[in-house]
């Protein structure tokens, strides 16, 4: 199936099977390896990207559902001021250890803050409930997000 969509702000046309996973299109076809495959079942959040600004599990998205959509991965998001704020706050709060879950967590953070620039602790936990981390520990991650929301006044 011929599929037109926008990837990291650039229009793309691809010809793929409509059941192909967005995760594989990003990693295999476009070499966007910030997008990780963890569970492949929508449970771990390592493959989270933005689709029209909202966090989605790219392992669950068939190619047929990205037509006309704007997909953003960390590769282009990292060029933004918002990313720089998240990065510096994550570094300060110790929100990253092995880093495997981090791209998904950063994209889920962006999805949260773009809708809700001043989230409560409960709202952060809720927004990140689909992102598993097995080494850093969630408290440091939540702290990093709180910091980004605090210091990023006006960015979101």
């Amino acid at each position: 199936m011929k599929i037109e969509f926008i990837l990291n702000n650039e229009p793309q046309t691809i010809d793929v099977h409509p059941a192909r996973r967005l995760l594989d299109i990003l990693r295999e076809d476009f070499k966007l390896t910030s997008v990780k495959e963890g569970c492949g079942e929508g449970e771990c959040g390592a493959c989270v990207v933005l689709m029209n600004g909202k966090a989605v599990n790219s392992c669950l998205v068939p190619a047929g559902n990205i037509v006309g959509k704007s997909i953003v991965t960390l590769e282009s998001f990292k060029e933004t001021k918002r990313y720089q704020m998240i990065e510096s706050c994550f570094l300060e709060a110790g929100s990253v250890q092995c880093g495997f879950c981090t791209p998904g967590i950063v994209m889920a953070t962006e999805s949260l803050l773009s809708e809700n620039p001043h989230p409560t602790d409960k709202e952060i936990k809720e927004a990140l409930s689909g992102n598993l981390c097995r080494c850093t520990g969630y408290n440091m991650i939540f702290k990093g997000i709180h910091l980004a929301a605090e210091r990023g006044q006006g960015l979101w």
């Binding site: 199936m1 409509p18 599990n57 669950l60 047929g64 559902n65």
Partner: protein, 283 residues
């Protein structure tokens, strides 16, 4: 074989459905996992896919007199963000999966997947939901408990699509929902309980009780509900042991990776008891 279709309108989708043996797919959050083949591999579907989730006709929520009409393609996130959806229904939806999955999953998909653990289902059964099934030849309206015929089985005919979910536009006086899972986020249901009631001058005028994930389909008994209606809350309180005994044989859970049958049954009856006790404190 054509791999898939992306119709522009519902009418076009229905015509494809009439002519082709295809698999309707909305968000794909259930189907992509069921057909997954593992790392970096394309899920294997034996039929062409009919993409319908994005169709504008399937994405509206509207109030029609005393009913709420929900398009089958409406996302779980959209339900949560809508001021037309009753809070007690949102309570169940906000405990489903996680935001990145709720941004993809549709309410129609949760119904058609017909999992005994489908988390929209206890509420939809409790409020006597009607489903609109359309084909190129016409449409029919079916109560949800007749549409879902077993685990993963529905009455959907080959040329039909589920287009609309109709629930009453009313709020109950007493609302009680509990999902029992391993944790709060990203958990699959071990057991779910939905209870709702109206009480006027100390008397029960309406009651709805539904259990999820503890039988091949959602458990609801209009017969038992009828025996409770008209009674005073004090009478209900006294009859709690008898009411529990009436429900007990209907709750027929299984042992699986998520929980044991014994635990599921016990927790369901305790939740029912808690609901009845809370209800009997209302005036």
């Amino acid at each position: 074989m054509v791999d898939g279709f992306r119709p522009k309108t519902l009418q076009e989708a229905l015509e494809i459905r009439l002519k082709t043996d295809c698999l309707p797919i909305a968000g794909g959050t259930d189907l992509m996992v069921q057909k997954a083949r593992g790392f970096a591999l394309k899920p294997d579907f034996d039929k062409p896919l009919l993409f319908i989730g994005y169709l504008p006709e399937l994405n509206k929520i509207s109030i029609e007199k005393d009913q709420i009409h929900i398009g089958a393609g409406v996302l779980l996130t959209d339900l949560l963000n809508s001021d037309k959806i009753p809070e007690i229904f949102k309570e169940a939806v906000c405990l489903m999966a996680s935001p990145p999955s709720r941004n993809l999953a549709s309410v129609g998909g949760n119904i058609c997947n017909a999992s005994p653990a489908g988390d929209t289902l206890p509420h939809l059964y409790a409020v006597d939901t009607q489903l609109v099934l359309k084909s190129a030849k016409g449409e029919r309206k079916v109560p949800i408990d007749q549409f879902i015929t077993g685990p993963k089985r529905t009455d959907l005919v080959k040329d039909e699509l589920l287009t609309k979910i109709i629930i009453p536009n009313r709020i109950f006086g007493v609302n009680y929902y509990r999902k029992v899972g391993q944790r709060k986020g990203m958990s699959l249901t071990k057991a779910a309980f939905q209870g709702m009631a109206d009480i006027e001058q100390g008397k029960l005028t309406d009651v709805r009780i539904a259990f999820g994930s503890v039988a091949p389909t959602i458990v609801r008994s209009r017969e038992i509900e009828k025996t409770m209606i008209g009674k005073s809350v004090e009478e209900i309180k006294e009859e709690i042991p008898e009411i529990l005994a009436k429900y007990a044989p209907l709750i027929r859970p299984i042992d699986d990776a998520r929980s044991s049958a014994a635990y599921r049954k016990k927790v369901c009856l305790r939740l029912l008891e808690d609901f009845l006790r809370k209800m009997s404190k209302e005036k």
